[in-house]
Structure formats: structure tokens, C-alpha cells
């Protein structure tokens, strides 16, 4: 029987954790699941709620705790250290797997094995529903074609979200550690290293969304996301440069526009204008195109 460790970081969201745990318990896959939760220094009441949730699970749960809040990358590194099963999946507190997720992803592993592939070199991602607070879910397709480094950086066809993944323990160890200097986008950094180290992302065949991501920009720090984006560009600059100057301008533009979106959603208008101005300077042609697109949509 296959064994799977489900790695769950948690900080101050017992309600979200309860939703996520219920979705793990509801999986149609029949192998042995062990849940590992690392709480990142939540206050006493929240942690007690997490303890109660862990105790109430039918599946085996290992609960660990950072004595102080150390950030998500550190917490994820602790989760990596706790891996004991041959297969690993991730789930952030608050996000939800649909019942067939793990089963479909294991089926994809079987297909790869039958095709003679070394499955340690694959991470199985999946399509997912993107749920903005107060809106209807939107299906997001993961397109795992070629040039995965480029696509991950552009973030349109392929996005770096750990909770979509199933992989072998060996593959996650080979990808190294989470960079503790990246409070945001550490997933992207980790995915890039996996692909550059010889790994490939793939999706189960003929499936629709296999999980649900609750998305909100509220409280997200615009300056922090911009700094993290900059650090990732610096870390992988030699690999990104090969796609040419236009690509580099585009990813700088995207990073500035993302920071502008965060600032806007947080009501920081001056910051938003500054980041938008910076985006226009990065890639004026793209900015004009985007503006024209918005005007046309508004006109309709």
C-alpha cells in the first residue's frame, strides 16, 4: 500500500485548517495518509484549536509547533524535515482538495511508470478553481508544455502553487530548501529550482479542477511582493536572460503591476500609482496595450 505524507503549514487560521483537513479526509484514494501540521507560532487560543482539530482526525496527524512565528519558508522547511513517506503532497490551511485529487494524480504516476519514466523527476500538478473572496470560482488550467521556467516566471499558463502538487519524497528533497528570505513567492523559487535541476511538471490527463484556492489580496504587502519578485529575478537571472530582453521587461512589468494590484486592494493609492509608473517605464508598449484593452472593455 502506498504511503503519503500531507504537509500543512498553519498560522492563525483554525477554521481554514478545518476545511483543508476535511478535504484530506474525504479523498477517494485508498492508500495510507499521514498528515503533518507545523504551526508557525499561532497564539495560544488558535493553537489549542489546532490541537483539538488534530485530535479529532481519524487519519494519523503529527503536529509540530514553532515557538515563535518564523514565517512560511521556515515552516515549510520543517515540514520537509518531517517527511517519512515515499510520496508527498502539500496543502495550505484554508485551501481545499476535491475528493478525486490524489487518486487522479497517482493515476498519472502510474501512466508515467508504464511509459518507463523515472517518476522521481516529475511533480504532478493539477488544474484548480480560483476563488476570489465574494466571487464565483474560475477554472485555472495548468499548461505543462515546454519551457517551464519561462512559463512559471510569466505565471499565465503555469503557476507555482505547492498545494497542487503530488511528488515523491526524493523529488522534494532534490529541490532543496525553501529560501527563508522569501516571505512571498517561495513556491515559485522552489519550482524553478526543481525544473532547473532536471525536474518536469505534468498534469493528470483528462481532468478538470482538482482543488480550490481561496484567493485574497487583502493585507498582502505590496513592497514585500515586489522585493521577493526582484530577488527571484536576481537569483535566476542567468537562466532568465536566455529568453531575451523583451521577456525580462515583461516579467519586471508583471511584478510591478502585481505590486500595484496589492497596493490598490490595500487602499494605498500613492504606492499603487508609483508601481504602475514603474511598470510603464519597464515596458511602455505593454502598458499602452493593457490600457487600450481596459478602455475597450470599459467601452463595451
Amino acid at each position: 500500500m502506498s504511503r503519503l505524507d500531507v504537509l500543512m503549514p498553519h498560522f492563525r487560521d483554525p477554521e481554514g485548517l478545518a476545511l483543508s483537513l476535511a478535504s484530506v479526509a474525504g479523498q477517494s484514494w485508498t492508500g495510507d495518509i499521514r498528515i503533518i501540521i507545523v504551526d508557525d507560532g499561532s497564539p495560544g487560543a488558535d493553537f489549542r484549536a489546532v490541537e483539538a482539530l488534530a485530535a479529532a482526525q481519524e487519519l494519523p496527524v503529527v503536529l509540530e509547533r514553532n515557538t515563535v512565528n518564523r514565517g512560511r519558508p521556515y515552516t515549510r522547511n520543517r515540514l520537509l524535515d518531517a517527511i517519512d513517506s515515499p510520496y508527498v503532497a502539500w496543502l495550505d490551511a484554508g485551501d481545499v482538495w476535491y475528493p478525486a485529487k490524489i487518486e487522479k494524480q497517482f493515476e498519472q504516476f502510474s501512466r508515467l511508470r508504464l511509459a518507463g519514466e523515472d517518476i522521481t523527476r516529475y511533480w504532478i500538478t493539477c488544474h484548480y478553481d480560483w476563488q476570489w473572496t465574494g466571487r464565483k470560482p474560475r477554472l485555472i488550467h495548468q499548461d505543462t508544455g515546454e519551457r517551464q521556467v519561462r512559463e512559471l516566471m510569466l505565471g499565465r499558463k503555469l503557476r507555482a502553487y505547492l498545494w497542487t502538487l503530488l511528488g515523491t519524497a526524493e523529488s522534494f528533497r532534490a529541490a532543496g530548501r525553501f529560501d527563508e528570505r522569501l516571505p512571498r513567492l517561495q513556491d515559485l523559487d522552489y519550482f524553478l529550482r526543481f525544473v532547473l535541476g532536471g525536474g518536469t511538471l505534468t498534469v493528470p490527463e483528462k481532468t478538470r479542477a482538482l482543488c480550490l484556492y481561496h484567493k485574497s489580496d487583502l493585507g498582502r504587502n505590496a513592497r514585500e511582493i515586489r522585493r521577493c519578485n526582484r530577488l527571484i529575478r536576481d537569483k535566476y537571472n542567468p537562466h532568465l536572460r536566455i529568453y531575451g530582453p523583451a521577456f525580462l521587461r515583461t516579467i519586471r512589468y508583471n511584478a510591478d503591476m502585481l505590486a500595484a494590484r496589492f497596493a490598490g486592494n490595500n487602499g494605498e493609492r500613492l504606492k499603487q500609482l508609483y508601481y504602475m509608473g514603474s511598470a510603464v517605464a519597464d515596458h511602455p508598449k505593454r502598458a499602452v496595450g493593457a490600457m487600450r484593452h481596459h478602455l475597450l472593455r470599459a467601452g463595451k
Binding site: N77, G197, G198, D234
Partner: protein, 418 residues
């Protein structure tokens, strides 16, 4: 039943983030490149996060396979994405580098900067962004770049030397021929935290202040399975393995064979390797009328098969660091014949125990031919020398060498908790 447990204490060697730096790696099948990749792979197998950095225009992957998870990064921007004016400027610079190898001061500083500034600056930026725990530079161009890089945090710097020190620091025919570069190579060594040398005598070469930093780090030699050694079917075959370059002195070997070949009509000499002297050596073989008995075999992926089929390894090189061909032959139970004054060879080959060290005095070709003749006539002696080879390499097993690497890199400091 739920099992809510407290955090377990994690202990063991620290998992390090490591960068290996070498100037050129694309499609290179040399000994140092092989050692670099084998070491990087072995450290990745032990759980360290490893990246290989090179700085070259060729966009090809490394010749030797990388372990899954080891990332290769070429720091040099591809020519194709540069603006036309920049490409013209680069072409001009490169033609100047090729034309003016040595220029008078102060122009030498400008030329040196034009040649080396890009590597050092790009390495500095990459290290600042990635912050590895330790950086290991292989061979002088990379060591110089690492010594000059200021990544803005206290990185552990290691210089991995792969030749006799006088060759790396004083021989104008090796590396950049400019006197300024040679001077800087040695002047920058105090910036290294550790200098890894292949043999104890290389450590003694350094001045006292640097000697303290020098650590003997031999190349790893993979033992050959005893069942393979037992099955080895050794025929009338002498092999030589190495790049076809002046330093390996293949021409001396061909001349020696021309003197003894008639006495051993059943024997054959096969020379494995490629290099700049290929055409010249081919002509020499034809000229000596040795076609069919002395053959240039080119590169092979299955050299171990040859070590197990041959009766002798002839290695007349002028100097070596820690010659892989010699160590592999000894591990495969093949007696080695080399010169007594060849660095590296004279440490690994124990005269009369696992091979023969040929006197340097007098006519080298004659001496080498005599040593080969003696062994080709005496099968019992060849067997006895060959039998001692594998045991003489046991100090260099991969496990022992990688333990030493972890020790030098600081991975053996035990880590409590996370």
C-alpha cells in the same frame, strides 16, 4: 488514532547550499571537470543543495551527467540576445585578447580587467542573490574570480587546485600567460578560507601562511568489484589514456614503441583520448611504420573495459596533479609505468609494488622502452604488480573522500533542532 506529537529534534550533518565554480564546463571531458561533477553529485546525494557555475559562451550542457537536483548555471550572457553594438564591441575585445597576450603596464591592467572583469562581477552578483554557504572554485580562472567577488556576506571560499602548484602559479604556458595574471593568482590566495591540494607535497609548496589553509583533498577513486577483477582477461595490450597534448608525451611513447615493437609482434599499443596533437601523433605513427600496432582510439565511454583487458598502462606524462587514468588503472589491477619525476604519478605509483617508476636521467625514451620491455617479457611480475594496485587505492574511496569534503565544508558541525 490521532498522534499529536511534539517537534522531534533533528540532528546530523548540516544540509549546505553549495556552489562549484569553474570557468568552462560545456561538453568538457577533462579530469578536473569529471572530479567537479562527481563531487557535486556525491554531495547532492548526501542531501546538500548544489549548483555548478560556469562562465562561457558555449551553451552546451556538461559532458558528464548531473544528478537530478544539481543545477548548472552559465553566468555568461548569450551573445544572441545582446544588442548589435554590444556584439561588435565584444568581438573587438576578443580579437584584442587573442592578439595581445602580454602588454606592458599599465595597459596590462586594462587588458586583464577586460578579460576577467565580467566573470568576477557576474559571479559576485550571483552569489549575492543566492547566498550559498560555501563556494568551491576549480582551477585558477575561477579561483581568481571568487577571490575578487564581494557578495556582501561572509561566504566560505575554497580553492580546489588540480595540478602541481608550480604549474598553476608559475608556468606561463598554462592559463593566462600575462605576468600580471600569474602574480594575481598567488597574491589572491590569502582570500581563500581553504586551499584544497591533491597531494601532501603540494601543500608543502605554499608559503607558511597559506600552508595553514591548505588541506589535502585527493580525487575519489571508485573501487572495482572483485568479481570483475577476477574475470579480467588480460591480453598482449598496452594502453595509454589521456588528452593528446604535449604534457602527456605520447610522442615519447610512440618512439619507445618503435624501438621495442619488433621484439613483441603480438603486442599492441592503444592510445585513448583526443586533443590538439591528434594529427601530429597520427603522422608520427605512420612515419615510424607502426600503423596497425599503435592505434589512436579517440574517446571511449567504456574505459574500464580497456583497463580490464590490458596488461600495462603506459603513462609517460611530464607532470600531473592526481591523474585519474593512473588511479583507475591501479584500481583495476593494471600495473602503471610512469616517470619518477612526474608529480602525482610518483606519489600514486610505488616503484616495484604496483608499477614502475622510470629514471628521468639519461635518454628518457630508452629508459621508458626498457621498462616496458622488462614488464612485457615477465608475466609473473606483471601479475604481482597488478595484484597490489587495488589495495593501494583504498585510501581514496568515494565515501572517505566525500566525508573529507563535508568536513572541510563545515557540514559535520552537528545541528540540534531546526
Amino acid at each position: 488514532m490521532p498522534d499529536a506529537s511534539p517537534a522531534p529534534a533533528v540532528s546530523g550533518p548540516r544540509r549546505l547550499k553549495l556552489c562549484f565554480v569553474i570557468e568552462k564546463l560545456a561538453d568538457r571531458s577533462g579530469g578536473a571537470e569529471r572530479v567537479l561533477i562527481e563531487t557535486a553529485n556525491a554531495l547532492a546525494d548526501r542531501g546538500h543543495q548544489v549548483e555548478l557555475l560556469s562562465h562561457e559562451f558555449r551553451g552546451k550542457p556538461p559532458f558528464y551527467p548531473l544528478r537530478f537536483g544539481v543545477v548548472h548555471t552559465n553566468l555568461r550572457p548569450p551573445r544572441v540576445n545582446r544588442r548589435r553594438i554590444r556584439r561588435h564591441f565584444d568581438a573587438l575585445r576578443e580579437s584584442l585578447h587573442a592578439r595581445f597576450k602580454v602588454v606592458p603596464a599599465p595597459l596590462d591592467r586594462l587588458l586583464w580587467l577586460s578579460k576577467n572583469g565580467g566573470f568576477w562581477r557576474r559571479l559576485e552578483r550571483h552569489l549575492a542573490a543566492n547566498r550559498p554557504d560555501a563556494v568551491i572554485a576549480f582551477m585558477p580562472p575561477a579561483i581568481t574570480a571568487l577571490a575578487l567577488a564581494e557578495p556582501g556576506y561572509p561566504v566560505r571560499r575554497l580553492a580546489s587546485m588540480h595540478n602541481a602548484p608550480e604549474q598553476d602559479f608559475h608556468n606561463p604556458a598554462r592559463w593566462d600567460p600575462s605576468p600580471l595574471d600569474r602574480k594575481r593568482r598567488l597574491a589572491l590566495m590569502p582570500r581563500m578560507d581553504r586551499i584544497l591540494v591533491l597531494l601532501p607535497e603540494y601543500r608543502d609548496w605554499y608559503p607558511p601562511a597559506l600552508r595553514e589553509k591548505a588541506v589535502v583533498m585527493p580525487n575519489a577513486v571508485t573501487p572495482v568489484a572483485p568479481r570483475l577483477l577476477k574475470r579480467a582477461g588480460r591480453g598482449p595490450l598496452v594502453i595509454s589514456v589521456g588528452r593528446l597534448a604535449t604534457v602527456k608525451r605520447h610522442e615519447l611513447l610512440i618512439d619507445a614503441w618503435a624501438r621495442i615493437g619488433a621484439e613483441f609482434p603480438d603486442w599492441e599499443l592503444r592510445i585513448f583520448g583526443t586533443g590538439p596533437l591528434e594529427a601530429a601523433l597520427k603522422a608520427r605513427i605512420e612515419q615510424a611504420g607502426l600503423g596497425g600496432k599503435v592505434r589512436l582510439m579517440g574517446h571511449t565511454q567504456h574505459i574500464m573495459k580497456q583497463y580490464l583487458a590490458a596488461s600495462l598502462l603506459a603513462h609517460p606524462a611530464e607532470f600531473e596533479g592526481f591523474p585519474l587514468a593512473v588511479t583507475e588503472a591501479l584500481a583495476a589491477g593494471l600495473p602503471v609505468v610512469g616517470f619518477e619525476d612526474c608529480s602525482g604519478v610518483n606519489r600514486l605509483v610505488r616503484d616495484g609494488e604496483n608499477g614502475l617508476l622510470v629514471p628521468a636521467a639519461g635518454d628518457r625514451t630508452e629508459n621508458f622502452a626498457a621498462a616496458l620491455t622488462g614488464l612485457m617479457r615477465d608475466e609473473t611480475r606483471r601479475r604481482s604488480l597488478g595484484a597490489a594496485g587495488p589495495a593501494s587505492m583504498m585510501d581514496y574511496t568515494p565515501d572517505k573522500v566525500i566525508d573529507l569534503w563535508e568536513d572541510v565544508l563545515g557540514a559535520q558541525q552537528m545541528e540540534a533542532g531546526t
